[in-house]
């Protein structure tokens, strides 16, 4: 069969976009190659490491095992979409820097998108709940403790509990 393409319209980081996409493409392929959103990392590419994690209609998905054509009509958020209007980084990204939650950095965008989903829920999670919600991402450098601190600190800060945020 000759190459098969499909027109895919969706919202990416708040912007309505549309492109012809190869039906064999994963969402990672589409976001990186067609839209140059390179925060979406190609890691294991079998849905285990979470480096390609993006938020689709409010839920986290590993974009490597998500067909690009399924993005039709969906609202997609990648790490690039967390930047403020002036291009500055968000509080959760700053917290990752402050808590030294980044070493090689390859897993970081995926972790931050899992964290973004936690923060979007706008409620306080227990330590175990945070760990469970972050458990779909693998980091081979930091040992997770600093990542956990960064997420918890930002969650508490956003809920106006700054003092408790100092761990």
């Amino acid at each position: 069969m000759s190459r098969q393409y499909k027109l895919v319209s969706c919202t990416i980081n708040g912007k309505q976009v549309e492109k012809m996409v190869d039906v064999r493409a994963s969402l990672t392929d589409m976001l990186r190659d067609d839209y140059r959103l390179t925060s979406v990392k190609r890691g294991c590419e079998v849905g285990e490491c979470g480096a390609c994690n993006v938020i689709i209609d409010g839920e986290c998905f590993n974009s490597c095992i998500y067909l690009a054509v399924w993005a039709q009509g969906k609202e997609i958020l990648t790490l690039e979409g967390l930047a403020g209007p002036d291009g500055g980084i968000s509080d959760i990204q700053q917290a990752f820097i402050d808590e030294a939650a980044v070493q090689c950095g390859f897993c970081t965008p995926g972790f931050i998108m899992s964290a973004a989903a936690i923060l979007e829920a706008k409620r306080e999670f227990t330590d175990d709940e945070i760990r469970k919600r972050m458990s779909g991402n693998l980091c081979r450098c930091t040992g997770y403790e600093n990542i956990f601190r960064a997420v918890k600190k930002t969650m508490l800060q956003r809920l106006g509990k700054e003092k408790e945020g100092i761990l």
Partner: protein, 295 residues
């Protein structure tokens, strides 16, 4: 890029059946967390796919007219866990599917895919077996419903004839009313791991909470497909709630199960944990049902 020969997107269940009839070699793709991974490994490479992921009519949990709980086959694990009907009537199913993979996998993985791939380790399967689930299959000849035990034929093979797809899983009212259950998964790590053995138990107690009117138990990875341990159930059905009967129950499972050696665990280890899980899961089910186990 995936090595997909062609992709056909279904727009309705009817359309999906037509596409499957038209393309008999095609494989159904629901959430894709099994099929796309297999494709990466080269196992399903070069296949035609019929995507049913867009069929919202196959999503959600509702009641049938006769009181049965209907779970659309495309309902994701996280939506099952969060669903109020599941939480009230068959909470253990929500807890079981909350142990699948990790958060992202639970958002894409579907209960239909979990059962249609026919693997014994599926976290939803043992609970569905233990609650007498019925599988609804839609095909060119219409709709048919079969008990989940008949749906599994052998490892990796389920009863889907050409042109058919699974459209829902039902839990009959008499199968859930008055029951409380507990699922235990034994694996090497909490997230992103496959069960070494999984055990789902549920119990219906008498009004005074002294007698186990009914007990049901099912396992994953205790044989080539998920299985009920009926001898174990018969051993304690109608007996009083007591520590001794809980031990009798757990001891009886070895007669029913057929685990084997694999790279994950030895047969002997699986037998050992099967007994321990049965006892703990029954104790917890009794507690949830309001009973108390004397020691």
């Amino acid at each position: 890029m995936y090595d997909i020969k062609a992709l056909y997107e279904a727009e309705s269940v009817e359309h999906a059946v037509a596409l499957l009839v038209e393309h008999p070699e095609a494989q159904i793709i629901a959430g894709g967390s099994d099929i796309l991974v297999k494709m990466r490994e080269g196992k399903c490479a070069g296949k035609e796919l019929v995507s049913i992921y867009g069929l919202d009519e196959m999503r959600g949990v509702s009641f049938e007219a006769d009181g049965a709980i209907r779970i659309g086959s495309l309902t994701s694990f996280s939506h099952i866990t969060g669903d109020p009907i599941i939480q009230e009537h068959i909470r253990v199913l929500g807890e079981a599917v909350d142990m699948v993979g990790g958060p992202q996998i639970r958002n894409i993985g579907t209960i239909g895919g979990n059962t249609c791939n026919g693997v014994t380790s599926a976290d939803s399967a043992s609970t569905l077996f233990a609650w007498d689930a019925v599988v609804e299959i839609t095909g060119p000849e219409g709709v048919r419903r079969i008990p989940i035990q008949d749906f599994y034929i052998r490892a990796g093979v389920v009863d889907l004839k050409p042109g058919e797809l699974q459209t829902a899983i039902l839990i009959p009212k008499k199968a859930y009313e008055g029951y409380q259950g507990h699922y235990m998964k034994y694996a090497m790590r909490n997230a992103m791991d496959i069960a070494t053995t999984g055990c789902s138990v549920n119990v219906k107690l008498s009004e005074d909470k002294k007698v186990m009117e009914d007990v049901r138990i099912a396992y994953g990875v205790a044989g080539p497909v998920p299985m009920r341990a009926s001898g174990t159930e018969a051993a304690v059905k109608g007996r009083t709630v007591s520590g001794e009967n809980v031990k009798t129950f757990a001891g009886a499972v070895l007669e029913d199960i057929r685990p084997r050696d694999s790279f994950r665990a030895s047969k002997e280890f699986r037998q050992h944990i099967a007994v321990v899980l049965a006892e703990r899961a029954l104790r917890e089910s009794i507690r949830l049902a309001g009973g108390e186990v004397d020691e």
